[in-house]
Symmetry: C2
Subunit: 334 residues, 2 copies
DNA sequence: CAGCTTCATGGAAACGTTTCCATATATAGG
DNA sequence: CCTATATATGGAAACGTTTCCATGAAGCTG
């Protein structure tokens, strides 16, 4: 593994010329170039990324902040994002914040030191939360796009229409004759869960069903599997709905398990519907009927947009982009 | 965001002194230090990671190569590894090779340019596969540890006892009176799957059950969900075993789904057992009985060992460490 | 063929740190 | 109080690139 000075010494040309030859600069004789390239090849030349970056102040790297890679939503997202970023010439620095705002802040300043070119954020960056470190990112004009989560300034976010999706779920349930619909709420600090909740309420109203507070169950998943024990508790306490609407697939999966555990059957006794359409949801038994988020499209759009911001700062601050959800029907609803 | 020269200018001290104050070097007056620290604080000092690294030739970063983050085995591993690495002062650079050896090679040389201090490998680095780029890593004496996968030189790997685990699964099935045991094989290029297969065979022999080639089903999962269609096909063709042993949890999950899909019941008609104990396996219905790999312990050990290698090159080349599996019994076996 | 332009090359500055060396000042020992 | 030692600080080199500037050679134009 040799550096540019080694190649210069071995080939007999100056460092400057070697650098030009290697970088494809046109002011170098074809013959010289081929000698240098051959020499670099033979001596296993490997450019020092840090020296390059020190000059260029650009790392060709973007960071993706997620709360928890063990949350099943993220792996498919990480996967498309990495693929797309690489296609566009960028590497991906992934980081798990474990839902810890302080840790996220640390990561962010570390990444700034590392000249990360832009941030993709699916964590704790929501109008309702405030993290100095994260907010400063936008203030400083750093290229930043939020994915799934809402940006405080309501710009540069890639979202699904959570409201519409939740309404669709309720509509579908009602169309199957299911009227007593329990709702498993996610973290109410997050706009996306609020929107799903509002969509649920609106769906109920639209269909002339009166809202019953007893049917709103808590299900923040990251802090233990609350949905699982919560649903069991409610069922055992005699609240038996026609259907359960989990405001995310993981929540719905937990609910389904709970329903079976207390001895009811899905969908014969209780139907279950989710929101996300994760890869695993198809492999469950019964397959989970759910509202699909177009993860692949959203992920690709997010990195495309971030990189556009990086390469043209003027594009920072454009309106959110909201994708349409759609329902995928399997067998968890009667 | 200011650099060290800004702090020097503002505080009135020289760059050298500022650097010493910031790095905790003792040859600096307490008063001077406090002035400088305060100044750095106020001016939002952020060290340039590239300049630091250019000098130090150390990045405090390790890379973790995995085949596919969407494979449900990896998220829990990535999670512990990142946590442990951070605890020890290192950041994690994650990369998905998408089972592409060439891509893995590209990543590796990119990471070398970036002075990554060591490599943690769970991908295509197996005695039976040969990738120039990956093999050269070991030849060059780069700190490297393999996790789950076998290193070609049979050193520096963190493994479970796959053979013993598979035997345990067969023993357990037989103890429940199940004798006609189908085996869903994983990628036979990988030593770990060969070992599990051998354990299955040995378990059969030990229990006096004759081996039936018709009961070996193919299940490489990464290339589409082969296990799912394969199991359906076999079942429909009339091969009805007492039990199916998926040589990984994802394979077992696919098998379970297939069993239900063709109209049989797990475990009443056909029992299913897996190998891994993924977080999702517990949430299935029925809960999957499976052989547990101690992922958390293994992940921690892998990074501990890698970092030991980085900090003391003499520790490179120590024998593999093999962890004991254990069975976790849920409800997918009669 | 003189005067331009174009092109190939070498040399050196610059990027932001850390660290070594030299110097200046303070402290201690006799 | 003088010398020897310890401590604090500034200045400069070094890390491996890229890029700018200067120089010289070669090719073109009239």
């Amino acid at each position: 593994m040799s550096g540019i000075t080694d190649i210069a010494r071995i080939s007999g040309f100056s460092v400057g010329t070697v650098s030009r030859a290697l970088s494809g600069n046109k002011h170098v004789d074809a013959k010289t170039r081929s000698i240098i390239l051959k020499c670099a090849e033979e001596n296993n030349y490997s450019p020092n990324y840090f020296a390059q970056n020190l000059k260029a102040k650009k790392s060709d790297t973007i960071a993706y902040l997620i709360p928890d890679i063990e949350n099943m939503i993220y792996p498919p997202l990480v996967s498309v994002i990495e693929k797309e970023a690489r296609k566009l010439g960028y590497s991906l620095l992934l980081c798990n914040t474990f839902n810890d705002l302080e840790l996220a802040g640390k990561y962010i300043s570390q990444f700034k030191s590392r000249n990360v070119d832009g941030f993709l954020i699916s964590t704790a960056f929501d109008a309702t939360l405030n993290n100095e470190n994260i907010l400063s990112l936008k203030k400083e004009g750093y290229p930043t796009v939020c994915l799934l989560r809402h940006s405080p300034d309501n710009k540069d976010s890639i979202l699904v229409d959570n409201f519409q999706g939740a309404e669709m779920a309720v509509d579908y349930l009602v169309s199957k004759g299911l009227k007593k619909i329990a709702f498993i709420a996610g973290d109410s600090n997050l706009t996306l869960y609020k929107e799903r909740f509002n969509g649920y309420i609106s769906g109920l109203e639209k269909n002339g069903i009166s809202f019953d507070e007893q049917l709103i169950w808590q299900g923040i998943r990251d802090i233990e599997r609350i949905a699982f024990s919560e649903v069991k508790k409610k069922l055992k306490a005699g609240y038996i709905p026609d259907a359960i609407f989990g405001s995310s697939d993981p929540l719905a999966i937990d609910a389904m398990k709970a329903v079976f555990d207390v001895g009811y059957h899905v969908p014969n006794d209780i139907s279950v519907i989710g929101f996300d359409n994760l890869p695993i949801s198809e492999m469950l038994n019964p397959g989970l009927t759910t509202i699909e988020q177009p993860f692949a499209k959203m992920g690709r759009e997010a990195v495309t947009r971030l990189i556009r911001q990086i390469e043209d700062k003027a594009t920072i601050g454009q309106p959110n982009e909201v994708f349409d959800p759609n329902i995928v029907i399997r067998h968890s609803v009667k």
